[in-house]
């Protein structure tokens, strides 16, 4: 199940913190498939998304990862314009 977490700026955040590996990777890659040039998404993962990043790079996507105090991570992925 995917929760969308309300954020205080634009867009909602996909919340995959309750999914074990490799489900967060799978869900994020599925969501990224629909990104057009200049579009982005944000997602929360239970841990630093080490497995995800090489797959994003291979797809030509850019990303930023911020680690949270509780060990989870907030990932922002965008397709270059």
């Amino acid at each position: 199940m995917t929760r969308r977490v309300a954020s205080d700026d634009e867009g909602s955040i996909l919340d995959f913190r309750d999914l074990p590996a490799p489900e967060p990777l799978e869900r994020i890659l599925e969501a990224c498939a629909g990104l057009g040039p200049g579009e982005s998404l944000r997602a929360r993962t239970p841990r630093f998304p080490s497995m995800l990043l090489p797959h994003l790079e291979k797809r030509g996507l850019r990303f930023e990862v911020a680690e949270e105090p509780d060990g989870s991570a907030l990932v922002r992925v965008w397709r270059p314009a």
Binding site: C32, R47, F48, S50
Partner: protein, 446 residues
Amino acid sequence: MRTAELRLERAPTLAVPLRFFLTAPLFAVAAGVVLTIGGGDVLETGWARLTLGATHLGTLGFLTMVMLGALYQMLPVVAGSPVPWPRVAAVVWALLVVTVVGLAWGMAFGHARPVFIAIATGTFGFALFLVPVGVALKRAPARSDTVRGMVVALGCFAFAAIAGLWMAHGHSGMRFPGPRALWLQVHLSLALFGWVGGLISAVSWQVLPMFYLSREVPHAARRSVAVLVALGAALAVGVLVLDLVGVLDSFGVRPTHVAALAIAPAALAVLVLHPLLTLWALRGRRRARVDSTLLFWEAGVGCGLIAAAAAIAAHLSSDPRVPVLFGWLVLWGWAGMIVHGMLSRIVPFLIWLHRFAPLVGEQRVPSIRTLLPDEWTRRGFRLHAASVVLGAAAILSGQGWLGHLAGALLAITGIDLTRSLWHAARQRPDAAASSDGSPASTRSSA
């Protein structure tokens, strides 16, 4: 961006760990067959030939086979340092297979030549494994609790292997290096508590949060486990050194008692402290839904706690059944359960990651849960649990027919696990699937 904790891009090819993982259950089958044929005779004493053969099928053929494959997979990913000369892994695998077969056959039937061959293949195989892995660890940029635990475990493996190969001379027509009971005690202790227990605990710090969303065990607790394992192992090796230089007798106590005391910190760490930490970590899971592989962890660490009680009882009691019960529980209950569960989790995970993850978003790919149905894993758990319980009942009751039955169930457990893992391993993306989302995106290779 912070440095990644796991470096999946450095992972070896799928074939490297997979050949170890797919072979290991066959040795569990073989151990079960030996027990089925021998029945109660195999479970009467740890000194019987069939028991020695069956034990090494379990410890080397099943447990060590999986653990070597796991290290080839995890070291580059967790430590950030690829194992050099990766093609050597195939040679290591082949030599380990020959070593296990030779050792088990020679010990079980009292034939010297297979043991002699096993000494040679084991020496080369273990060296071919330890040298590249040692190089990888030396170069490793990451020094996490998992990596430190792996270093301790590998050190114990090296000493246990040296002691075991040296002792094997006694089974191949040459001499034992020293008093058999003492060397057996130290070899078993280093192998079980240092190598197996050390690696299980080190790996658990990564896999429990990753696969089960468990709580993170505090750094101080993780470090304590590794320190206690290292301390126990060092003291146990020290006991052997004292025996070799002829000093041990001057203490005026039984050498096996000294060895038991020496390894006690390591035994406490892996059979008591680590199980309690694991249960604590799992109680705080984020995810309520139970993955059947979790049952193996819970049952395995539970058996560890029971085995710890049996270990204490074995030193306080003269009942010959208690040491055998300890050996059975620690091999097939504690370590065997945990390794069985990890295989059921890791093999589908690696196959999905290598074969299907690159296609996500480009074509429909199966969920990882379909690669190995949860009901199959649950069935494997029931079979394994039943064999452990029946084996314990056979030991305590002395009823030979229970031993035959436990062996049959152990063999069936191995066959079931083999079938499950091969089912997952055969799953491949459908090469004909188009990007417009056509269904049936998996096929089993012929």
